[in-house]
Symmetry: C2
Subunit: 359 residues, 2 copies
């Protein structure tokens, strides 16, 4: 049995635990995966730890009803936060543990997410995360730490919801070098640009999305390109072995675009999209996020609404693209699930490390 | 050391052994993979078996110079063909063995490729193949046999050259169900249709491709849709657990299309492409291959020349597309290499089987 600690219990994590339940039979039958949720830490509903297992239906009900989780704690003193939860669990010897880190993005320095990941790894717990912050700010450190402690740090959901990017390269493209990438990886801006193509100005499109709850009240993270920059940094750090942060990405948002400009491009058969790209050059990796006018035959130009796509440039396979036509909550939650299965596969039978060259 | 038996030594296999050499350091360093080629069987240049290892540079030189391989055989009586080679090797106990099966496609019944695969699996050898025939005709049988014998049967190169489809689903989409697919998976017809869009008739386009050596003299396999049907059957058998053969696919080729029809569609902003699709329904899996007029916003319509793409319809991830913009020989050869690494990973540390549901 794998023990799960949920650090962050928002929409994504709650959808994840429901998926885990819905697919429980299949996960047990096909993969022999059996899990027990032993801890939950939330931002506004407290935390609980119970090594015998927390009743997840009750936990969901309490949080969604606005009640604290503390009554579910096995002791009189529930953990104060995510770090405390991880520390509590680490005091007990025992089963394999996976921390599911899905706290909100802090674009500035990725705290406290990066602290959660670091403490978990130091405590020899595996980490599965949908948080792009730590990957964008500290991937090199964290991956070295994970390797040293003999545990996994996986984060498929950080960039393109559930469709595989990191797993794709790691599991299916051995001995093939990624030298660059180019993609549309922010849904909110894509939605806004699509709405501008169909008529309307930036402000109206944004307001409509906020009304529908698709965009945040503070939309600057999306429209100023910060979200795309964090994803570009994460991709560059992992796939191109870069040492970038979101702040190091050359970044232009879509706030300056007028509806006229967007529609004039569409009139020429072109499309304006917020494109994230990076390439390894002689003087390191250069990455940028900016609106680009895409030629009619550019596949990125066809992406509308919640669709995302990333084209990898590789040495042996040329350009390989992966496209997600239906992004959303279930997809991101699925990323956590697929990473959990990867951790489990490794526990069943540790994969090759990176041994010194054999004679 | 993994012993390799090369059954079929055409362009793809020869590119594969060169890749293996070029990436040898990286494969050894990162994956601990070490190989020795102990046998080669060709269609027109005889065969050779030498358990101590065959000098591959000499073998390449002989075959490319039109000379037989028999002098490289360790005995006085070289194997007569691929089956004989596998039988010889199976008489010696010893190392892990992988048969690299890449003989030409026989669309009718996939022989002798399917016999090569079966004998290899029965001899407890792993099989890595770029041949779509056995997957299209006998996947269910062969996969059961491989499982029973405790070996792997992998065939990433069978459908979309080197870009991962089968590995993508198997390694990165656990507990996610594929319910259908739709794609452009035959390069020759795509090339012809692209040339017709740019002016010219079917016959001229085909003749030009044959002159350049891109299309075979007998192009019926491509233009009548047989190649796409074999690939569609392979995809349906593996991803949708179907029991189809190429003959069971509803099939229309592109031979009846006029240049005018293709260009009129292009004038409307649409594109005509040979589309392969399948879907699981109540009464089993239905698959078809036919030219379709694609709407301007259909990503399959943008594919030109050697580009291929496949969109999977899944239950948890919605529609996921993978696109290969640069198909070719190196890509197919790479598929053999990536499958070989997968076999090796499994040998290092056997992965989970499919145990009975755990309590």
């Amino acid at each position: 049995v794998i023990e799960l600690l949920l650090v962050g219990f928002g929409h994504v994590t709650r959808r994840f635990v429901r998926l885990l339940d819905e697919r429980g039979d299949r996960l047990a039958g096909e993969h022999g995966l059996d899990t027990r949720i032993v801890g939950i830490a939330t931002g506004r509903h407290g935390a609980a730890y119970d090594p015998k297992g927390i009743d997840i239906a009750t936990a969901l009900q309490r949080v969604e009803g606005g009640q604290p989780l503390s009554p579910l704690d096995a002791s009189d003193t529930p953990p104060t936060d995510g770090l405390d939860l991880i520390a509590r669990a680490s005091e007990r010897p025992g089963a394999a543990r996976v921390v599911i880190e899905a706290t909100p993005l802090n674009i500035v320095d990725a705290r406290p997410a990066v602290d959660h990941v670091r403490l978990a790894l130091l405590s020899r717990m595996h980490v599965v995360s949908a948080n792009k912050g730590p990957v964008a700010h500290a991937h090199a450190d964290l991956s070295v730490l994970a390797h040293k402690m003999g545990v996994r740090y996986l984060f498929e959901g950080a960039v393109m919801d559930g469709i595989p990017i990191f797993n794709l390269v790691r599991e299916t493209m051995p001995a093939c070098e990624v030298v660059g990438f180019r993609g549309v990886i922010n849904s909110t801006t894509n939605y806004i640009l699509t709405m501008m193509e169909d008529g309307g100005e930036f402000a109206d499109a944004l307001a409509a999305m906020q009304e529908q709850g698709i965009a945040e009240r503070d939309a600057s993270l999306d429209v100023d390109g910060w979200d795309a920059a964090a994803k570009a940094a994460a991709l560059a750090n992992v796939l191109l072995d870069a040492r970038l942060t979101p702040q190091a990405i050359e970044r232009t948002g879509i706030g300056q675009l007028t509806g006229d400009a967007v529609r004039q491009a569409a009139g020429r058969g072109s499309r304006i999209r917020l494109v994230a790209s990076a390439r390894r050059g002689r003087d390191g990796v250069r990455a940028r996020v900016a609106p680009e006018e895409l030629a009619p035959d550019d596949p990125l130009g066809l992406l509308r609404g919640m669709s995302n796509a990333l084209y990898l440039e590789t040495d042996l396979l040329g350009r390989v693209g992966i496209t997600q036509l239906d992004g959303g909550l279930t997809q991101t939650a699925y990323a956590l699930l697929s990473d959990l299965v990867t951790v489990h596969r490794g526990l069943q039978a540790p994969r090759e490390g990176r041994p010194d060259r054999s004679p």
